[in-house]
Structures are given as C-alpha cells and as structure tokens.
C-alpha cells in the first residue's frame, strides 16, 4: 500500500467503524453512564442501602453459585461433546454443530417454557418417568424450579457456547501427541492428563468465564421458570425496576454490581486467553 493511500484507508476504516461506535455509545456506554451516575446519587447512599439488605447478600451468593454451577456443568458436558465432534468427519461435524447451535437462537423465555413442557409437573418427561418408574411428578418437577434446576436449564443454551469455543481447539489438537506420550510410557489417562488437558485448559477456562457471565446476568429464563422463588440478583433487579416506588439509586447500584460481576468474569476469561496466547510463544 502506498503512503498516499494511507489517509483515505484510515478514513474508510473510520467510516466502517462509525455505525458500531454509535450503537455502542447509544445503547451501552450512555445507559451505563446514566445508571452509574444514578447509583452515586446522594453520595453513594444507594450502595449503602443495598449492602444493608441481607437479601442482597444472599442473592449475590446465589447468583455466584448459579454462575459457577451452570458454568461447570456446561463446560464439562460441552467439552465432552466437543471432543466427540472433533473426532468425527468434517461434514458430520458441521451438520451436528448446526443442530447444537440452534438453542442459541432461542429466547430465554422459550427455553423456560420448553423445560416446563418437558420437565414441569405435567411435562412429557415427568409423566413418562411417573408411568415407567413411578416417580412422583411434584417432587421431580420441584427440581426444575429450584436453583439447581435453574443451573440445569441454563446449561441448555450455555453448552452450545462451550461447544463452539472448544471444538476448534480440539480439532486443532495434534492427536499424535497422545500417541507419542503412550509410546514414551504413559497410559491413556496419563497421556490425556499430561498432554491434552494442559493444552485445552485455557480454552475451557475462557469458556467457563464466558458462560458463567451469561448465567450471572440472565433473567428471562429464571423469571419465566421460578418467578421470585429463587433469590438471584437479576430477579432482584427485575423486581426493583418493575416497582413504581423503587429506590432508583439502590436499583442503579444493584445494576452496577451485576455489571461488575459479569465484567469481572469476562475479564478473567480475556486475561486467561491473552496469557495462553503469549505462552504459546509464537
């Protein structure tokens, strides 16, 4: 590229980036700034009032537990699915990944209603289990409406995210390394532990951080499934903004805490990704 064309190239790149920058400013930075300013009104009193509520702390704990639990389930299942996909032919893999990615297109509400239809008190699987094994429908359905059930439901659309992140890593993994480890004296499990796991762990950790952040911030599925029965921060926030007499400073503080939590999880993932790239030494 000639020097003369550099300014026009810069202008072109800036023009292409402008719509994105406007959207980012209007729909992310501006609302975030407004909420941030709102949360600091009356000298940060909103934070004080929020921290003084025991329900906030239990909600925070439940939210973190939900994020970690859903993240762990999703990474465990998603990694196994990705490992399988990495071993099959490319055409079959592409077809299966299309099917696996479908839940990503569903709204959280659709997923929630889908689980109610499947695993609710009158759900297909619940009634089938009752008929086949005499499982109590009320007891079984209670699981779906519990925090553990919520983590299970979240996994439905978190697992595809993990699969999408892990498949390229596992496809690119040179399986001759496992054969080499075995030829050097390692058993199959030892070879996997010494050779495969250290190489895919950073990607799995990045996937965990991403899906944990999604689980921490999600509210649609939880709202449709458990209403206010489970105390998590996104539902606290929903209840607060729905209240016409809401304490806006406290609500904004809650929103900022939730944003911070999600951002922290994402930041850890990004840090791991960068560190992993640097460690490869290319």
């Amino acid at each position: 590229m000639s020097r003369a064309s550099a300014p026009s190239q810069t202008f072109l790149l800036a023009s292409l980036a402008t719509p994105g920058a406007i959207c980012l400013g209007l729909f992310f930075l501006a609302p975030l700034a407004i909420v941030g300013v709102e949360s600091l009104q009356d000298g940060g009193g909103g934070f004080s009032r929020l921290f003084a509520q025991p329900a906030f702390w239990s909600g925070l704990r439940n939210t973190i537990v939900l994020g970690i639990t859903a993240g762990l389930i999703s990474v465990a299942v998603g990694s196994l699915v990705a490992w399988h996909l990495a071993q099959i032919g490319e055409r079959m893999r592409t077809a299966l990944m299309f099917v696996i990615a479908l839940p990503l297109t569903f709204s959280g509400l659709v997923v929630a209603y889908g689980f109610i239809l499947g695993f609710g008190r009158a759900g297909f699987f619940t009634l089938t289990l009752e008929k086949l094994f005499g499982v109590d429908p009320a007891g079984f359905a209670a699981f779906v409406y519990s925090p553990q059930g919520l983590a299970f439901v979240y996994s439905y659309y978190l697992i595809p995210r993990v699969v999408m992140l892990m498949v390229p890593v596992l496809v690119n993994f040179d399986r001759n390394q496992l054969a080499a480890a075995e030829s050097l004296g390692a058993g199959r499990l030892r070879a996997i532990a010494d050779v495969l796991v250290p190489q895919v762990f950073p990607a799995a950790l990045v996937a965990f951080c991403l899906v944990a952040a999604v689980a921490i911030g999600a509210y649609g599925t939880a709202l449709a499934l458990v209403g206010s029965q489970v105390n998590i921060l996104p539902l606290q926030l929903f209840t607060a903004v729905s209240d016409v007499n809401a304490d806006y400073a406290r609500t904004a503080a809650l929103a900022m805490i939730l944003t911070l939590l999600c951002s922290l999880a994402m930041a850890v993932g990004e840090a791991v990704a960068v560190r992993s790239e640097v460690g490869k030494g290319h």
Partner: protein
Amino acid sequence: MSVVLEDVGFTYPGTPVGVENISLTIGAGEFVAVIGPSGCGKTTVLKLIAGFLTPDRGRILLDGEDATRLPTRRRELGIVFQNYALFPHMSVADNVAYPLKLRGVPAAERRARALAAVDMVGLSAFAGRRPPQLSGGQQQRVALARALVFQPKALLLDEPLSALDAARRVEMRDEIRRLQQAHGIATLHITHDQEEALSMADKVVVMAQGRILQAGTPTEIYERPASPTVAAFVGQSNLWTGRVRDERHVDTPIGPLRADLAGFAPGSEVCVLVRPERVATGPSADGTNQFSGSIVRDRFLGSLRRFDLSIGDGTVTVETKETSRTDTIHIAETSIQILPLDAGQHPSETRKQ
C-alpha cells in the same frame, strides 16, 4: 535388541486395505529403511510394531519376546513422528525429560539426563524454549533426543525428514545416522524418499500394495532389483518390455539388444532394465548395442546431465558427466539386466524418471 515380524498381516476394518505376509528382521544396531509409494503400507508396518495397531495374523517379537499384543506404553520403543508430536506446552528440556518422569526417575537425575540428551543433539542453548519457538530441524532434534533418552529397545522413525527443506534434510540424515550408531540401536526408518533410504540404511525394504517386494542392502536393491516394480521405484531406470529372440538377443522398442538371456525361453516376454548412468555416450568399439537417435529432452542437474534419446519406438534416458551433445549411445552387455515381468504387468516401456 532386535525387532522381528513373523508373517504379520493386518487389514483396516471395513476396507480391503492393509498389509500381508510381512516378515522382517531388524537386528541389533541395524538401520532398516522401508520405502514404497504412498499407501503401500509402510506406515502401517510402523504402527504395528509400535502397538498403535494390532496384527490380525502373525507375531511381533521385541528382543526375542512376543510383543504382538503388548500395549504401546510397555514396548519401550522410541518413536519420532512425521510432525514430531512434541508437547508445545512443555519446554525442550521437559519434553525430553517426560519419558524419564514416567519411569519415576528422580527430578535431579531426570533433569541432568534430559539436558545431556539435549546437549547430544546440539540444542543446549534452547533447553528452556518451547517447541513452537524452534525451527523444523531443531524440533526434529528434540524429537530424537526424547525418543532416545530412555534407552529404548528400538527406534522407529516415521518419515521424520519429510517436513524439512532439502538442505536440512541431507544434514539431518547424517545426524540421525550418527545418533543411531552412537546408541547402537535397532532402527526402522519409514520414508518415501529412495535416496534417503539408500544413503542411510544398512538394509532397504521395498513395499508395494501392502507387501514386501524385496529386502536387501542398498547395493543389492539398486543393482539387482527383484522385479520391474522395485527397479522402477528405486533410482532412475530404463525399463522396456522385450521379447527373447535367443540366448544372446532380446528385441526391445529401441531395437535388438545383445544380452545374457540364459534361463529365458525364446519368444517369452521379459523386462529389460538399464540404469541411465550405465548407458555410455558415443559409439562402441565393435558396434554392439550401439544406437543413434534424437534428443527429445535435456536436463542440467549440476554435477551431471540427463537427457532422453528417442530411438526407434522407444526412449533411452542417459546420465552423463559430459556436457557436449551426442545422439549416439551404446549399452554394455554387463549393464543390461533381464527381469521377469511382474505378475499381471505389461510395462511396455515403463520408465521411472
């Protein structure tokens, strides 16, 4: 320490592809190269010895003991893979120390032995680096050090030079041979490069379609190929289908040749082999086996010249150090080999360039 394959056969499930009747001995300290075209089964043989595949038939003996169904990890074989298969998350020293770690060697001794092995391949300055930070040749050396550090029973090399550039490949041939001889270790070297096999090996095994066609010293394989297929695969060759006229003459596409045809019935079809470097330029003293034609292709190869001479209905490839053009050649009787045709084959002027 030796490796013996006794009538080994293997077929890949659901396919007719595999190897059949593989009998092969790699003696202690012997360097055996297996060559053949792609898909001939040479890598399958390595995988069978390594334990990555289990034979359907026959036995594999390692150091005299039946290892046919022994798991890979218990075979004590050093393997260098085509792409080296180094562990990118470990340093060079840790890669080399890994087999020692698996054998419970104490950390201090492990490190000392690994560093000694790294030094042996001339990479002391790179011990702390990771494989992706090394060149192809350096990675190859690390793979060799890792494969040798635990004093394996045998060394298996799966086309280890194929990823290197031509200059590095020649250099690494000598390096591998030096290390192999220093360790006195039985070695199987899989390659599709005939020059590599001939220059490195004590014994060369030529394979095609899952079977061993011939095994022998490089000189035997080159000078006395057992079949036209072997002759065509190893080295440059002029191969013509000929019809035996009598005990002293054979008719070929380039004309009648005077040769020793003892044992071949008059009228039978044979394969006539003449190596290009055995074709002499200029007229012969008595006019025997002398031909003239026109040059159809001329290639300068640095230290020599290779040209194709169109004669009669055939072509003769000639290799010579002479730079002057000539359209007359002669072939000494001792330079002509008569081979029976391969079963089902009719090479009719088969030539390998």
